[in-house]
């Protein structure tokens, strides 16, 4: 009896140790093929960080996901994974209140300023883990463009370059541009005979929103219509279909209930803090002087090309380039992945 008991105890200890090892001991010491997952803890939040790719040169592309409330590993697909990771290390992370991040704070614990400090803290952690000689490029997609711009305005000297991909450095400017662009696109698509019923409804919806001041409910209608419109454009071959390999991996890496719960909460908090009504960094873009690459889909209805052109004009960088993807909308990395990766790699090669 005693013997059976001690055997069980040993088994339990062994199994527990095995589980801990399986979940904790997978860090790769090989910089050439990084496959690391760790957490960044700051200001009552624990945020997962996933580092993949070739870190042999200690050049890291820090990727800020969209949303707010998106997920870092949403972007680990297509040519980002298959091309960019081959040459450089890519740092994906779930921002505060996003993806699988966890923590304990109140609504004051989420703001653009706090999230900027998270990004800067992440740079410190990567330097601590991989060496002080690590170099960084910052990439922001969509809402990541808001966060990235705010980060650079606080401390741009940590970064070798800025890559804005269909980024919302002027969230409060989106509302009226939605009205203009959706109206224009609807007329064009109706004239082409594309999804006439849908685009006629878009015209009606756009006419029904408040034309004089930004209304949050109307903003969500317009934003949702923009996303739906891009699906119709892809169906009518105006733009390429999104082709992001390994997209299914997302399903297994994220608890979707947690993901959507975080997304709604964080989006709601930032919206109520005036993100879509008052936030605009356009007048400060001249302060950003590091080399900048702007990558934009020509048919982006979610963050229209107008904002890319505006950023190109106003950024203070002497080295800046705007690349317009003719067959893409809001996510050129998924629609014209090869060209996207080529542009990113050329930029990083030039300024690392």
């Amino acid at each position: 009896m005693t013997c059976r008991y001690s055997y069980s105890k040993r088994t339990v200890v062994f199994l527990f140790t095995l589980i801990l090892c399986l979940t904790a001991c997978s860090d790769s010491e090989n910089l050439g093929n990084l496959d690391d997952t760790f957490f960044l803890r700051r200001a009552n939040a624990d945020m997962p960080v996933y580092v993949h790719g070739n870190g042999s040169e200690k050049v890291f592309l820090l990727l800020l996901h969209g949303g707010p409330g998106g997920a870092g590993l949403n972007y680990r697909a297509g040519t980002i994974k298959n091309e960019i990771e081959k040459k450089y290390a890519v740092v994906y992370y779930d921002q505060r209140g996003s993806g699988m991040s966890q923590g304990s704070y109140n609504k004051n614990g989420i703001s653009v300023d706090i999230m900027v400090d998270d990004v800067l803290a992440l740079v410190k952690v990567i330097k601590h883990k991989y060496g002080d000689d690590s170099r960084f490029f910052l990439m922001g997609h969509s809402w990541g463009g808001t966060l990235g711009t705010a980060t650079l305005l606080k401390d741009q000297h940590l970064f070798k370059g800025w890559i804005e991909v269909d980024g919302a450095h002027n969230p409060s400017g989106l509302y009226y541009e939605y009205i203009n662009l959706l109206t224009k696109t609807a007329h064009e698509q109706i004239a082409e005979g594309h999804h006439i019923e849908f685009w006629e409804k878009v015209l009606k919806d756009v006419q029904n929103v408040d034309q004089h001041k930004i209304n949050l409910d109307d903003f969500y209608i317009l934003n949702s219509t923009a996303h739906q419109g891009e699906v119709r454009l892809a169906n009518d071959h105006v733009i390429y279909q999104a082709n992001f390999d390994d997209g299914n991996a997302f399903l297994f890496k994220y608890n979707l209930i947690t993901y959507f719960s975080n997304r709604f909460q964080t989006g709601d908090i930032l919206s109520n803090k005036g993100m879509w009504k008052t936030l605009d960094f356009t007048s400060r873009l001249h302060e950003i002087t590091i080399p900048s690459l702007l990558l934009w889909g020509k048919h982006d209805l979610v963050v229209p090309l107008k904002f890319g052109q505006e950023a190109f004009q106003k950024l203070g960088s002497t080295s800046k380039r705007l690349v317009v993807f003719e067959n893409s909308a809001h996510s050129p990395m998924a629609m014209e992945g090869d060209d996207f990766a080529r542009e990113v790699l050329q930029f990083m090669d030039a300024y690392k």
Binding site: I19, L22, T23, A24, S26, D27, T37, F38, F39, L40, R41, R42, A45, D46, P48, L73, D94, R96, G97, M100, S101, Q102, G103, S104, Y105, N106, K107, G109, I110, A121, K124, V125, H128, K129, A249, L251, F252, K253, Y254, N255, L256, I257, T258, S261, N262, Q265, T266, I269
Partner: protein, 202 residues
């Protein structure tokens, strides 16, 4: 604050269980009134884990009905439930943790041994286990040993099962669980899982 509340309520419920147990089913030994259980808990995709626990019979009522074919007995029980789940997401390492739930189960067993149960676990916690964590305070970065967070996590359960009297595995069950973790981030996080397993007596 939450931990203090959980501790107080745990002691309260344990006291109730011991006192009431002594009053009603005192002629049956503690071990005979206790079934242990072990099984799978998770959702097969994002979370997979192992669940172990016990159920202690608090109250039991038999409804005997005379039918043309014979006597029909329906058993209704109220049990104290203790359950622990260790779960993880093997593909991301970002969702590993241990849940502990304490509460009550109401269970109806029909003459064929089929069971339906409802459970409520007002006392619950979830302790996350983070793989490798770096804390940043000002310019200082330090590695945190055994990082994790504790959340208050009550749950409710709806379950179906089969009583297997006289067998080594005295019953099997499939439960559907809904829990919340709070405070998580700036609010709460819902959690859904199912558990499948067997009950047994020692």
């Amino acid at each position: 604050m939450n931990l203090k509340l959980i501790r107080t309520l745990s002691v309260f419920m344990l006291t109730i269980s011991v006192l009431h147990g002594q009053e009603s089913l005192h002629q049956i030994s503690f071990m005979d009134r206790t079934e242990f259980k072990v099984g799978y808990d998770g959702n097969l995709i994002w979370n997979n884990g192992i669940s172990v626990g016990g159920e202690y019979l608090w109250k039991e009522k038999f409804n005997v009905k005379e039918r043309r074919k014979g006597t029909k007995t329906i058993t209704k029980q109220v049990l104290f439930n203790v359950n622990g789940v260790l779960s993880t997401n093997f593909s991301s390492q970002t969702d590993t943790g241990f849940s502990g739930w304490f509460g009550l189960i109401w269970r109806r067993t029909n003459p064929k041994g089929r069971q339906f149960s409802l459970g409520i676990n007002p006392l619950g916690f979830y302790r996350s286990y983070l793989p490798e964590t770096y804390e940043v305070k000002g310019d200082k970065v330090r590695k945190v040993f055994l990082a994790g967070r504790t959340f208050y996590s009550p749950s409710i359960t709806i379950g179906f099962g089969k009583d297997r009297p006289g067998k080594k595995l005295s019953g099997r069950y499939i439960n559907f669980n809904f829990a919340i973790k709070t405070p998580n981030n700036a609010g709460l996080t819902p959690y859904l899982s199912f558990s499948y397993g067997y009950r047994f007596k020692l």
